[in-house]
C-alpha cells in the first residue's frame, strides 16, 4: 500500500503516449474534436437511418427511400427537419417536468460515451500532434458502461412521465432488458481487460497489436455482440417497441423534436456499441496483416475504424431485416441463463489460462486446478441445465408482468396457458382469503 502513496499524483510521469498527447492538446483542438465528435454522431445517425431503410428495403425487394436528395440519401435529414416543425403534443396526464427532461437524459450520455472511443492513430491536425480521440481515461470502459446505464433513465422516465399505459410498460421492459444484457456485456469485457491489463480504450487497442482479441477471446466477442444488440433494444430484441404489442414503445406519447431526440439517442448508441466492439475485439483502427503498414498513418486507421464500425452497423440492419422478434421470456432466458453463466465460466477459464501462461506454462498443479475447476463448472451447468420437470411451482404466480394474455394469440395454448389462466382468475380469490386471514391474525 505504501508503494502507491504517489498514486493520486497526476504528473506526466505515469502517462501513456496517448494520454500525453491528449494532455498537450490546446483548447481549440479540444473544441474542434468535441464538435467533430458531435457531428459524427449526428451524421452517422442520419446516415444509418437512411442506410437501414435502404438495406431493409433491398432485403424485402423494394427500393427504400430514393426521392429526397441524391439516391434518397437526404431522406432522414428531411424527416428530421420535418419533425422539428411538427406540432408538439404533451398529454394532459403527463408529468411535465420529467416529460421534458427525459429526452435530454437520453441524449447526453449517448454522446458522452462517444468521447472515449479511439477513432484512429496519431495524426497531425493543423500542425498539432494528437490522436483521433477526445479523451483517454484510465477508466474509459467504465465511462461507456456508465453512459449506457444512465441512458436507461431517459427511457424509463420518458415512459413513466407520459401518463399512459403503453409507454410505461415499454419503458419497464426496456429497462429490464437493458440492465439484463448489461450484465452479459460487462462480463464479456472482463476478458479484454485482463489481457490488456487496462481499462483505457487506447491501451486496449495498443495491446491488440499482436493479434485481435476476437480470436483470442471468441466467446467474449460472441457474448458482446449479442449483448450489444440487446442493450440497444434492436431487433430481434426490440421488445420495448414491439409495434404489435405496445404501439410504439416508450416514446409513444412523444412528438416533434423530443421524439427526434430519442431516435437520435438510439442510433448514437448503436454507433457507440459498434465502435466499442471494434475497439475491444477488432483492434480498433488497426488494419489486419496484409495491410499492417497502414497503421503508420492515423488517418488511415480512422478509415479502418470506420469500416469496422460500419460492418457492425450493417449487422444491426441485417438482423433487423432477417430475424423475427423474440418473445420476452425467450429473450430474458437467453440473457440470464446462457450469456451470464457462459461469461462467468469463460472468465475463470481466461483467468486460469492467463495465470498458467504467466507462471511460465509449467505449473502442473495450476493446470490441474484449472481443469478441475472447469470440470466442476461444466458438471454444475450440466446439472443445472435440464429444465425443471419437478412439480416445484415458480416462486410466485407472477401476474403483474406486462404480458398480453397468452390465450389471445394461440388458441390451442402452449403449456403455460394453464398457469396464465390460473394466475388470472384464481389468484384474487385466494389473495383475498389470504389477506382476510392476515387481518384476523392482527
Amino acid at each position: 500500500m505504501n508503494l502507491l502513496q504517489q498514486a493520486p499524483d497526476l504528473g506526466t510521469e505515469g502517462l501513456t503516449r496517448t494520454q500525453q498527447l491528449l494532455a498537450d492538446d490546446p483548447i481549440w483542438l479540444v473544441l474542434l474534436k468535441v464538435v467533430a465528435l458531435f457531428a459524427i454522431g449526428v451524421v452517422l445517425t442520419l446516415f444509418m437511418i437512411n442506410w437501414e431503410r435502404k438495406v431493409v428495403g433491398r432485403m424485402q425487394h423494394r427500393p427504400g427511400p430514393n426521392r429526397t436528395g441524391p439516391g434518397g440519401w437526404l431522406q432522414s435529414l428531411a424527416d428530421g427537419l420535418k419533425l422539428a416543425f411538427k406540432e408538439e403534443i404533451i398529454p394532459v396526464l403527463a408529468d411535465k417536468k420529467v416529460y421534458f427532461i427525459a429526452p435530454v437524459i437520453s441524449t447526453i450520455p449517448a454522446f458522452v460515451a462517444f468521447s472515449v472511443i479511439p477513432f484512429g492513430g496519431e495524426v497531425s491536425i493543423f500542425g498539432e500532434r494528437t490522436v483521433l480521440q477526445l479523451v483517454d481515461l484510465p477508466v474509459g470502459l467504465l465511462v461507456v458502461l456508465a453512459c449506457s446505464s444512465i441512458g436507461v433513465y431517459g427511457i424509463v422516465l420518458g415512459g413513466w412521465s407520459s401518463g399512459s399505459p403503453y409507454p410505461l410498460l415499454a419503458a419497464l421492459r426496456s429497462a429490464a432488458q437493458v440492465i439484463s444484457y448489461e450484465i452479459a456485456l460487462g462480463l464479456s469485457i472482463v476478458g479484454v481487460v485482463l489481457y490488456s491489463g487496462s481499462m483505457s480504450t487506447a491501451d486496449i487497442v495498443d495491446a491488440q497489436g499482436s493479434g485481435w482479441y476476437v480470436w483470442l477471446l471468441l466467446p467474449s466477442f460472441v457474448v458482446f455482440v449479442i449483448a450489444m444488440v440487446g442493450e440497444t433494444n434492436r431487433a430481434p430484441f426490440d421488445l420495448p417497441e414491439a409495434e404489435s404489442e405496445l404501439v410504439g414503445g416508450f416514446h409513444t406519447e412523444y412528438t416533434s423534436l423530443k421524439f427526434a431526440l430519442f431516435f437520435l439517442a438510439e442510433y448514437v448508441n448503436m454507433v457507440t456499441v459498434s465502435a466499442m466492439a471494434t475497439t475491444l475485439f477488432l483492434g480498433g483502427g488497426r488494419w489486419p496483416w496484409p495491410l499492417s503498414s497502414f497503421n503508420e498513418n492515423g488517418w488511415l486507421m480512422f478509415v479502418a475504424f470506420l469500416i469496422k464500425t460500419l460492418i457492425f452497423l450493417f449487422v444491426f440492419i441485417w438482423l433487423r431485416g432477417t430475424l423475427p422478434r423474440m418473445r420476452y421470456d425467450q429473450f430474458m432466458r437467453l440473457g440470464w441463463k446462457v450469456l451470464v453463466p457462459l461469461s462467468l465460466v469463460w472468465i475463470v477459464a481466461v483467468f486460469g489460462i492467463r495465470t498458467y501462461v504467466n507462471t511460465g506454462g509449467n505449473n502442473t498443479a495450476l493446470l490441474l486446478l484449472l481443469i478441475g475447476f472447469l470440470l466442476v463448472i461444466v458438471l454444475g451447468v450440466a446439472f443445472l441445465l435440464p429444465e425443471r420437470t419437478t412439480t416445484d411451482a415458480p416462486i410466485e404466480p407472477a401476474s403483474d408482468y406486462p404480458l398480453p394474455p397468452m390465450d389471445l394469440t394461440v388458441p390451442n395454448g402452449p403449456p403455460r396457458r394453464k398457469r396464465a389462466v390460473g394466475a388470472g382468475t384464481k389468484e384474487p380469490a385466494g389473495a383475498l382469503a389470504d389477506s382476510g386471514a392476515d387481518k384476523a391474525g392482527e
Binding site: L22, I27, V34, F38, A84, E87, E88, I89, V92, L93, A94, D95, V98, P103, V104, T107, F111, V112, S115, L134, V135, V143, G159, S161, S162, S164, A175, A176, I179, S180, I183, G186, L187, V193, L194, G197, S198, M199, V247, E253, S256, L257, R333, W336, K337, V340, F351, T355, N358, T359, N363, A365, G380, L384, D392, P394, D400, Y401, P402, R419
Partner: protein, 126 residues
C-alpha cells in the same frame, strides 16, 4: 496541462445544450392546434381508461426482481474489473495462483447465489 476530464465535460455540455435547445424550441417552432382528444393518452383509439395518478400510473412491483438480480451481478462486475486490471501484476509479483484461487472462489460464491436464483425460478419469465 488540461484536466483529462475537461473534454468530456465539454462534450457533455454541447450535447446537453443541443438536447435542451431541442426540447425547448419545439413548442415555439411547431404549430399549435390542440384539441382534447390529442391531449389524451394514446390507447389505440379507444377511450382512455382514467389514470389513477398523474405520471403514468403504477409500477408493476415484479420488475423489482429484475432490478435486484441486476444489482447483484453488476456488483460482481465491479470487483472483477480491478481484479482483471491488476491480475498480471499480481502474477508478476508471484501471487498468480493465489489470485486465481481467490477469483475462482469469488465467482463460485456468486455462483451459489446464481444457482439458487435459477433453481428457484427467479430467472423464469412467463
Amino acid at each position: 496541462m488540461l484536466d483529462p476530464y475537461l473534454p468530456l465535460v465539454l462534450l457533455f455540455l454541447l450535447a446537453g445544450a443541443f438536447a435542451l435547445f431541442s426540447v425547448t424550441a419545439a413548442p415555439f417552432v411547431g404549430p399549435k392546434r390542440y384539441n382534447r382528444a390529442k391531449l389524451d393518452s394514446y390507447e389505440c383509439g379507444i377511450q382512455p381508461s382514467p389514470q389513477p395518478i398523474v405520471g403514468g400510473g403504477r409500477m408493476p412491483v415484479a420488475y423489482y426482481l429484475t432490478a435486484m438480480l441486476f444489482i447483484l451481478f453488476d456488483i460482481e462486475m465491479v470487483f472483477l474489473y480491478p481484479f482483471a486490471v491488476s491480475a498480471d501484476r499480481f502474477s508478476a509479483g508471484g501471487l498468480g495462483v493465489f489470485v486465481l484461487v481467490e477469483i475462482a472462489l469469488f465467482i463460485v460464491t456468486v455462483g451459489f447465489a446464481y444457482a439458487y436464483v435459477w433453481r428457484r425460478g427467479g430467472l423464469d419469465w412467463n
